[in-house]
């Protein structure tokens, strides 16, 4: 029972990372999001794994560097030459004040197709 409770708690607290692309109206917009949980405001407990599914324990991936690496991969994998309007912001959500908080790093950018960026 305790093991099940621990597994459920771990799943509930899992971090994640995602990349979404929207191609409405001729503008390819990309939103990258990485989330995780921190203990005592500073120790990364669990955070999203940018290299695959599930999450990483005791490693901080919730930072702009991770989001930019994911954005770079999206640019390389798609037929894009550059980006514009690149912005990032971090939001924090305290669950138990000073003990446990959720941190999310969002990055938004417009992807410029290779043909347009070479012009």
């Amino acid at each position: 029972m305790k093991r099940l409770a621990f597994i459920l708690a771990a799943v509930a607290l899992a971090g994640c990372s995602s990349v979404q692309i929207c191609r409405e109206g001729g503008h390819d917009m990309c939103c990258v999001r990485t989330s995780g949980w921190k203990l005592f405001n500073c120790i990364p407990f669990v955070s999203g794994n940018p290299e695959g599914w599930c999450c990483r324990f005791f490693s901080n991936t919730v930072k702009v560097e991770t989001n930019i690496a994911l954005l770079d991969k999206t640019i390389r994998d798609g037929d894009y030459g550059s980006v514009s309007n690149l912005t990032s912001h971090v939001t924090e959500e305290p669950m138990l004040p000073l003990l446990l908080k959720r941190v999310v790093c969002h990055t938004s950018a417009e992807l410029i197709p290779r043909e347009a960026s070479e012009r």
Binding site: C22, E24, G25, H27, M95, S108
Partner: protein, 136 residues
């Protein structure tokens, strides 16, 4: 007396439900000095266990829009928000510049009108998408 309390409790529940409900909006302002229009399209809503959409702002365009809220449907998506933005730009006959997304998601439900979170994550989650841009 108990009937009065029951009625008051129901009224409070309705007020809380409306206060917590999602909202879709298109805000725009023209700057004569910059000769451009700043547009902000946003939508937000509530999810149960982070996967079941409960209530969000209705992003359906105006003639087909049944009401301000959409129940058990996900309208808080990049596609729907950006579609409404582009539709607005097309109606104004303007070109779009400087598109930026500002997204938020909370996994802890705060007690309405207070800033106190219920310490059970992923029970009731909040998502918001804001897309701002300039029309020239």
């Amino acid at each position: 007396m108990s009937t009065i309390w029951r009625t008051a409790a129901r009224a409070a529940a309705v007020v809380l439900a409306v206060a917590a409900a999602g909202c879709f909006s298109v805000d725009a302002a023209y700057s004569p000095a910059a000769d451009s229009e700043q547009v902000l399209v946003s939508n937000n809503g509530w999810w149960l266990f982070n996967c079941i959409p409960l209530c969000c702002g209705n992003a359906t365009p105006e003639p087909d829009r049944a009401g301000p809220f959409a129940f058990f449907r996900n309208d808080v998506t990049l596609d729907k928000v950006q579609h409404r933005f582009m539709e607005y730009a097309q109606a104004r006959g303007a070109s779009v510049q400087d598109l930026v997304y500002n997204n938020y998601d909370n996994v802890l439900f705060s007690i309405p009108f207070t800033n106190i979170p219920v310490p059970i994550p992923y029970l009731l989650c909040y998502r918001e998408i804001q897309l701002s841009g300039v029309l020239k």
